[in-house]
Symmetry: C3
Subunit: 329 residues, 3 copies
């Protein structure tokens, strides 16, 4: 039975059974080449409208492990800027409409993977997922999100995988739900809410953790993603007894894409970590050292950010495997 | 028997039998992997001195379908600017002469594919095809044009393929030559004449259509490409009873690379299309919507631009297959 | 027995037997696919912090010849700027620390190849090889230099290969050590000392040539690389009876990264070449024609720069083969 509800992978809502998908990813981690011909003769186009390192590399590797041919295309620098607005009179700086570009991707590839950041200028466009939805509408082939305007599902699946595989290192939490805290951190520029939204969505969908979010006032996330999570504005209180701390900056959601308060005391330090239950520390990377987290935390054994980033391959491989399975069925 | 006269593929003049090459491409469309080991152990270098999307992707895919290894290199952004003038004293912004770079490509690759746009500054250099001819002169291996200063042969071969495969959808034109009209369209900046030159050259060389070109005065193309085509300055008259309308902007040729007149009434609209014999509408893409063609035309069933762009793969695959055949003979 | 002393390839000091490595490279040149499955299931990440053409292409080709999967990543343009300073407070323009990026490369790849130029601003950082050493320290997998702050070992190995394979074309030098002269040449901007340092290091380590360096006063190289080479400030005297002339510009080392004197009379011309023993002329490329060398010299039969650049593949293939051998041992 497919672990995906639809042909696309855009959010936690596309997954039928998160635990089964996590198990599949960990199987691939144990044996990367077990399905090395599954994707033979299939091609995945990886379109980057924005920079990427881990996502770019892990997706290529995952595809190759499955015998697919990945082709990477940097839309802006190797091609040109795309237009996404319907009925646009294209006399400006955009050279091609997604209505024309996407169906051609559908001719060239079997699966289309896309990274497309939010504008951070137009909240309505961003939160309607205009860009990736236009690709889905016009490509005519399955679409895999490599991070979109509001979500980053392969990162979040990775995060669940990483929590799952490290749980047994924390025997004291084995027989109860681990406490997972998503904490806002300072940064130097306004960032998307994607990772925070997505992590919240997946923690809620997974349902196997006690999930707490902490951030300064004014940094509320979209409630459709935070759901029933406990939300606290007192970071120290939130961190108390945490088993996992996920650190991430985001800009404001309500008064969109602003930096209201950049209080350096929200940086995760060893003092803060001491409040937790010897918590493991996570971050999607890239991380601004000594701004978001201190060197001491990142270099401590509590940090599992490298393990987490390494798991990006297996998350991508599990999802691509499911998407390939749907193609042939 | 080879379908290419020489080891290079630069223009319609390099083809011995256009219909046979078209048939070969359509065979590959029906069975992409029929020659999947033909290029085993062969390598194609794809050098981009200018942006590209369809050409870049379709050439990589075509090479992979034939079992070749494509290696893509963005000359300007990943390397540095090349010098093309003989005897240049290289104390300026160019870092390497084509005389030195090209023979090395000849050591590294079996086939060299190059995209190199015109300067639109020096008509004599552009129309002598200085850049690609310097590569041909010095590389010492077969050269495949991915669009040069004055021509775009893989696009034009694609266009012939697309006309051929859609002809039977127009039974009313089956027993006579279909009327194909190349029409100038407005744009926002000065573009090369490549696609218009090349389409004209291929229509003339193919010889199986009634070929008409229409453009405002001052936009005459080089007569060596337009040949005996009927040239009209009245677009409405030209479009009458057309079976195919190929829409494209180009800048002036005579007084080189200028925009003399950018009359928006030359945009192809449904009203214009109504003058035709229910014509199929073609464009090489990227297209500026509501500048060159209206949304209504591009979104109508008359538009075959996606089918056309999809055929880029089979054009490239047919040509690469012939080039590989010559390598081993 | 391995021809490498350590798991990395950063300088001549990493090689146990230069002649054996050269012989291996020439074996691959005779039969590129002799070890075409040696790297099956292995992946090399090629990270470019700086532009590259020959190194980029030859490394990809070498990896493919050995059955490895190369993945290329342009760090700055496709990702973001890295931070290399320990304890940096990352509130500036760098987005990710090498301490975080490198170990992830170690998760994704089996071998990590890196190009990272010197700053030409901070001599101490550059000559401590801060950047590549940080990658070595944190990646946890073998590191292959594609040119670092002070050295360019794959280029220099190529140079030894090229001298070796052309020696028998110079029977008059067969029974004595050939005289190899590295000469400074003018340029238009301050360049690293890498190629000159590295060539010096390899000539000294190889030990089979009479090695002379000539440059204007103030262009002294680091003595740790020049060793016991004869150093002359009179170019004509140095060139006398030379069998090989290696031409290269570099900026000052002592008063770091300056251009003190850019005397055009140091350009290698036919008149200069007439002083030699019909010397073969080498250059790592890219070369500024009629600034570093005259057209007449580069276009003469004495120039072996194309053969030299072609040999980049075999140098990379020999080294990767040794690195793969160490992986599995």
């Amino acid at each position: 039975m497919s672990l995906l509800k639809t042909s696309n992978f855009i959010s936690a809502n596309d997954v039928t059974d998160i635990n089964a998908l996590v198990a599949k990813a960990l199987d691939y981690k144990a044996n990367p080449f077990r399905d090395k011909t599954l994707g033979a003769g299939k091609r995945i186009g990886c379109l980057f409208l924005n920079p990427s390192m881990r996502t770019r590399l892990s997706t290529q590797i995952a595809a190759q492990n499955l015998g697919m041919e990945p082709i990477v295309f940097n839309v802006g620098s190797e091609g040109w800027q795309l237009e996404f607005e319907d009925e646009a009179i294209m006399s400006g700086t955009t050279s091609e409409h997604v209505k024309d570009a996407a169906p051609i991707m559908g001719k060239y590839f079997d699966i289309l993977a896309i990274r497309t950041f939010p504008s951070l200028a137009n909240k309505e466009d961003d939160y309607s997922e205009l860009y990736i939805n236009q690709f889905i509408k016009y490509a005519g082939i399955p679409v895999l999100s490599l991070e979109s305007a509001t979500l980053h599902p392969l990162q979040s699946l990775t995060d669940v995988i990483t929590i799952r595989e490290t749980l047994n290192e924390k025997p004291e939490t084995r027989n109860q739900k681990p406490k997972v805290v998503l904490t806002w951190a300072p940064h130097v520029k306004p960032l998307p809410q994607c990772v925070a939204n997505s992590f919240s969505q997946w923690m809620n969908a997974w349902g196997e953790v006690d999930f707490v979010i902490t951030h300064p006032e004014d940094y509320e996330l979209d409630p459709k993603f935070t759901g029933n999570a406990t939300i606290l504005h007192n970071q120290d209180e939130a961190l108390k007894d945490a088993d996992y701390v996920y650190v991430k900056n985001w800009s404001t959601y309500t008064d969109y894409a602003k930096i209201y308060n950049n209080d350096p005391s929200w940086m995760l330090t060893l003092d803060k970590l001491a409040l937790t239950n010897n918590a493991k520390v996570m971050h999607c990377l890239p991380v601004r050292r000594n701004v978001e987290l201190s060197d001491e935390v990142l270099d401590s054994p509590n940090s599992i950010v490298t393990q987490e980033a390494g798991n990006r391959v297996w998350a991508a491989q599990a999802v691509l495997s499911e998407m390939l399975g749907q193609l042939s069925s």
